[in-house]
Subunit: 202 residues, 2 copies
């Protein structure tokens, strides 16, 4: 239950914001006592209300098998301090290795689903699969049924990574290389130059 | 054809790398002379070979209508210097406004599809829709048929943003706030602690 006291509920109506900037994720799964954990760069929001996500999980993986059997999975957003573990679970095979034990990963109990959630991450979403034909393209669609984040870097529906650098989210490139999430900046939209024919939406 | 001399072909076998780190994207579309351009944070790779992407495009949009009619779209990755335009095309409605004219956007001709591609971005992918039932979830699946990037920040299948800061990709949060793509870092995967029962994959 490491750092459990830093986890704070995120409003489901805004929870896609945890994933909107495209960070790398880690997926946990469990069915009939068998568990697994893998990294996934290919995960994104799909809808706001109810909040949905879509992830790409290869049909040949243990994770896929466990998720299809249980109908649930944990989706977590690791920080830069967790990048080595992210790479480790992303480059090893759950059919050959108990990754939780091998990489000494700590877990805690999910709120709404029966899947171990990974301690030491920055944000977490508990997901229930939406049955869909898209499986043939390795997609899994899911509804988010619980979400929480480490309040040291996420509160009031806003990221503030400067307050805990190790929890800064990251983005996977290839070959063990990541980008950390960079500095925030705010812009005003360019104004249209032909206002007489336009009604831009807010 | 602004900056056309900076655009360099990206090997299709590696082109998902342009999108792997989860940057915000801009989608261009065209059918029977009508064109549109919108921002999309919800875009990601789906497969390596042939390269595929999946994007979320609301069923009520002009972009969706044009893409469904033409079967093709342009997917571009803007840099931070293009964030104002990205927000502008993401918060205005193509049914009410010719966004290309209103925001003075420059385009150039695509190589493989009949869609205007947006000048001033960092990377580009030309996409052909894969017919699929997932449309009911606002998803569009597509194969990438051409890809190129600004060689000032992407060459030899590698990002190097420091060489042209305005072309650094970015990640959308909400309400006009973006993150720039941060610094790259490389890690070695954690070694498993139970090697006797494991064969980690490379």
């Amino acid at each position: 239950m490491t750092a459990g006291h830093f986890r704070e509920t995120v409003d489901l109506a805004r929870c896609t914001r945890l994933l909107n900037h495209g960070p790398v994720t880690i997926i946990t799964s469990q069915h009939e006592g068998r568990t697994n954990v893998m990294a996934a760069s290919w995960a994104m929001p799909l809808d706001f209300s109810p909040p949905k996500v879509v992830v790409v999980i290869d049909n040949n993986t243990l994770t896929r098998r466990l998720i299809e059997a249980s109908g649930v999975f944990g989706l977590q957003v690791p920080g830069v301090a967790f990048a080595r573990e992210t790479l480790a679970v992303g480059t090893s095979n759950g059919l050959e290795l108990d990754k939780f034990a091998a990489f000494r990963l700590q877990t805690f109990r999910a709120q709404q689903i029966d899947v171990p959630m990974l301690s030491g991450c920055t944000a977490w979403m508990e997901c229930k699969v939406i049955p869909d034909d898209s499986q043939r393209y390795d997609l899994i669609l899911a509804e988010v049924v619980a979400a929480y984040a480490d309040r040291r870097v996420y509160s009031d529906n806003r990221w503030h990574f400067d307050d805990a650098p190790g929890l800064r989210t990251c983005h996977y490139v290839a070959g063990g290389t990541f980008f950390s999430t960079g500095e925030p900046f705010e812009v005003q939209a360019t104004r249209p130059t032909v206002p007489e024919s336009s009604t831009p939406q807010p």
